[in-house]
Amino acid sequence: MEWFVFALGTLVVLLGAFGVVTRTNPVHAAVSLVGTFFGIAVLFIAQDAEFLAAMQVIVYAGAIVVLFLFVIMLLGVDGEEDLAVDPLPGQRPAGALVGAVLAVGLAVVVLVGAVTGARSVTAELDADVANPVAIGRVLFTDHLWAFEITSLLLIIAVVGAVALARHRPDAQVDDDLPGDALAADGPDADDAPASEDVTP
């Protein structure tokens, strides 16, 4: 039974990953990403991590991808990207090679080295206790400090994002060549709308 779930989950994950990497339209890529997230959630459930599966769906698929789509909508970057050529020389073959080596290497590591590690350092997976309860027990006792800090981190992230992305009345960001952006960012520069086009 689990094999079937595993196969299904793997299929969905890999299809989604393939989609993210190869779809030119960012919106399509985002939807593929959602697929991947669902696949991962399924695999989590297959491995007795129910709470995490729920969190995965809620946080990743429900919030993060939505955020992505909002940004796509805001920036209007749903234009197509030409995947046929890569402007940086040598990047494509190098990237492909690197990816292949990485995959093979990690696989070899997995197959050669047995899964090692100390067993049950934190707590046992007890089938009798519900997963959220078990996680909650550990989280609020042993890892309380980390928990509180991450909450602080979230607040900082939100404030930071607001600070970064807010609309500045005297905004100096311009839409011409990147080289000119530096000149325009000086203290004595006003908005300097460019007269040149963006070159891809």
Binding site: V20, A63, E81, G117, I156, A157
Partner: protein, 104 residues
Amino acid sequence: MLASAPPAEAYLILSAVLFAAGGVGVLLRRNALVMFMCLELMLNAVNLAFVTYARELDDLGGQIAVFFVLVVAAAEVVVGLGIIVSIFRRRRGATADDLSLLKG
């Protein structure tokens, strides 16, 4: 019926493949948002590995780790998208290749 459950190695190999795919995507895609999405792929691969280990070693610590990865990834996406918004606000194409001011 097949054996009771797929061995941990299977999940781990899947995680490795997913990780590599995400890596390739980061290296080869130019659109900043798509690069970010590929980054999420890599994080998910890691999460999968953690959960696999949690089951293998009968240890809840792996799942706690995933919990934190999830939270921090969320924060990271928030800030990262804020940066992308502030950089690419007025540009027509959000290409990572345009940001090469550090060229030495």
